[in-house]
């Protein structure tokens, strides 16, 4: 039992990071119907930029580095949309999907050129130690606690922006009916840029957290990017709560599989579950679309 609870805690901690990345997939899909395959690379860029800031500007508070990483990831995404996706918006979907894959590879190679191809340690790390719950036989690492708290803060922040601000209202309107939104006087191109910015800055924050826990390398966005994509589809692409629930679920499932079976089957079983869920409910757990347009 305590073993199970421990896997659960570990799963929720990783899953909350997947959830943050999945939010970006789902927001972008909701507004331009695009699976942004370069999204994992925005996370990787965030990790590198956070590391760079801490490395070059010794003494920068971690929070400031985190904010700079989020800002930079967001801006990279805005430029990506402007240069690579927007010109293809009225073309068949496959064009812009291809562009997204190209951007993904491009960003990986840019990182390799600028930062080198080997993994580097992040200049900062989480405080060591954990809180133990002896009666239950489980413990929570400080790092997990920080990840959970920060994820919660970011998710609440996102929720407030989307539901309580004028720009959030414009985002919801644009994602439900782009033309009608234009007729309301909403600059939908600006809203699309903003959506890319917000989604990628969440991914950038995860990049820093990931870097602090593991290390930083040009391909570090691939696995979490894929897991988060699966999470977004599982939760119902286009749905923000779906992305959060999907992310946590994938994290938990991965940890249970790795704990009880073997970590080599982790991804295979994750995909199996995705296929099972989609065959029963093609729109995902909280999705409303009947067809997922990829």
């Amino acid at each position: 039992m305590s073993e199970f609870l421990q896997f659960l805690i570990n799963g929720v901690a990783v899953g909350s990071m997947y959830a943050l990345i999945a939010l970006g997939y789902t927001m972008v899909y909701g507004i331009v119907s695009l699976i942004n395959f370069a999204h994992g690379e925005f996370m990787m860029m965030g990790a590198f930029i956070g590391a760079l800031v801490l490395h070059r500007l010794q003494g920068t508070p971690l929070v400031v580095a985190l904010l700079i990483a989020m800002l930079a990831s967001g801006l990279i995404a805005v430029v990506t949309e402007l240069v690579a996706y927007r010109p293809l918006r009225n073309q068949p979907k496959i064009f812009v999907l291809t562009a997204a894959i190209a951007v993904s590879v491009l960003l990986q190679n840019v990182a390799r050129l600028v930062f080198g191809s080997s993994a580097v340690a992040f200049p900062a790390s989480f405080p060591e130690g954990s809180i133990a719950f002896d009666s239950l036989g489980i413990w929570i690492e400080y790092s997990q606690l920080i990840v959970l708290c920060l994820s919660l803060v970011l998710m609440v922040g996102l929720w407030l922006v989307v539901n309580k601000t004028k720009i959030g209202m414009a985002m919801r309107a644009t994602s439900q009916d782009l033309e009608a939104a234009r007729l309301m006087g909403i600059d939908t191109n600006l809203i699309i840029s903003f959506t890319f910015f917000v989604g990628a800055s969440l991914a950038g924050a995860v990049g820093v957290l990931y870097g602090m826990q593991y290390s930083v390398d040009p391909l570090m966005g691939v696995q979490p990017g894929l897991a988060a994509f699966v999470a977004a589809v599982l939760g119902g692409i286009g749905s923000l709560p779906g992305a959060m629930i999907g992310g946590v679920l994938i994290g938990v499932i991965e940890n249970l599989v790795a704990g009880y079976l073997s970590s080599t089957y982790q991804s295979a079983i994750t995909f199996l579950i995705l296929i099972l869920v989609l065959s029963v409910k093609p729109s995902g757990l909280l999705g409303r679309m009947t067809v997922v347009k990829v």
Binding site: M169, Q176, L183, G185
Partner: protein
């Protein structure tokens, strides 16, 4: 107030509007009638900036609109209630109306137009927190008109407000349109397939056939015109 001159619009190779010219005088109700596929919606889309014109000019209160994006045109006071309603389905009635007033900063003015919309369409008030997508077709049409009204436009363009709505409700909606025009002194450009009704409330009318204006004149005169009677009024 609005003056289009020699407007051409293409969808790829399809020439949807051919040298269309029309005028809308301030304070009037002008209707644009025509059969399915004549290009009526295309005309409104061109005027509101949803679709680019390939040539011609559109002037609204002296300002050239033809290369202006849609979200700026509405700020000049030209509001477009699109065909098929296009309410935001998962937003509430209230949020839809608030979005109608997206361009308006003055909170008191928004409140005033909101209560005005409730006067025009009391049903919307009863359904304030209902998701717009769950409203009936007629209620959605009321919401779409109310939403366009919330922008406090000087010119309100309505695309087939009678589409898919029970006859009794159509009467009600047309009465409201007339009321908006009279009491708010709002200029209206009304696109309709229901020529009978449209000609009754309009001052002036244009007839569109396969992308071309083939006839125009006072609504009362067109209603009596034998060609119109034969083609559009079913006599």
């Amino acid at each position: 107030m609005l003056e289009a001159h020699g407007v051409n619009v293409y969808y790829g190779a399809i020439h949807a509007l051919k040298d269309v010219s029309l005028r809308v005088e301030a304070g009037s109700i002008v209707t644009l009638i025509g059969a399915n596929g004549a290009g009526k919606s295309t005309a409104l889309r061109a005027l509101s900036g949803l679709h680019r014109t390939s040539s011609g000019s559109v002037k609204f209160s002296g300002q050239e609109l033809s290369s202006m994006p849609a979200h700026r045109i509405v700020r000049l006071g030209l509001s477009h209630c699109p065909e098929g309603r296009h309410v935001f389905p998962r937003l509430s009635v209230k949020e839809n109306l608030e979005l109608g007033a997206f361009i308006i900063k003055d909170k008191a003015a928004i409140k005033a137009s909101l209560s005005h919309v409730f006067e025009l369409f009391p049903r919307l008030k009863e359904r304030l927190n209902q998701a717009a997508g769950t409203l009936s077709g007629g209620e959605q049409q009321m919401l779409a008109i109310g939403r366009a009204f919330m922008a406090q436009p000087r010119l309100l363009m309505l695309d087939e407000p009678s589409l898919g709505i029970a006859p009794i409700l159509v009467q009600e909606i047309f009465r409201t349109i007339k009321q908006i025009s009279v009491s708010q002194n709002m200029t209206i450009l009304l696109v309709e397939q229901n020529a009978n009704l449209a000609l009754k409330i309009a001052d002036y009318a244009y007839v569109l056939e396969t992308g071309r204006i083939v006839l125009h004149g006072k609504a009362s005169e067109l209603a009596a015109d034998p060609r119109i009677k034969a083609a559009y009024l079913g006599h």
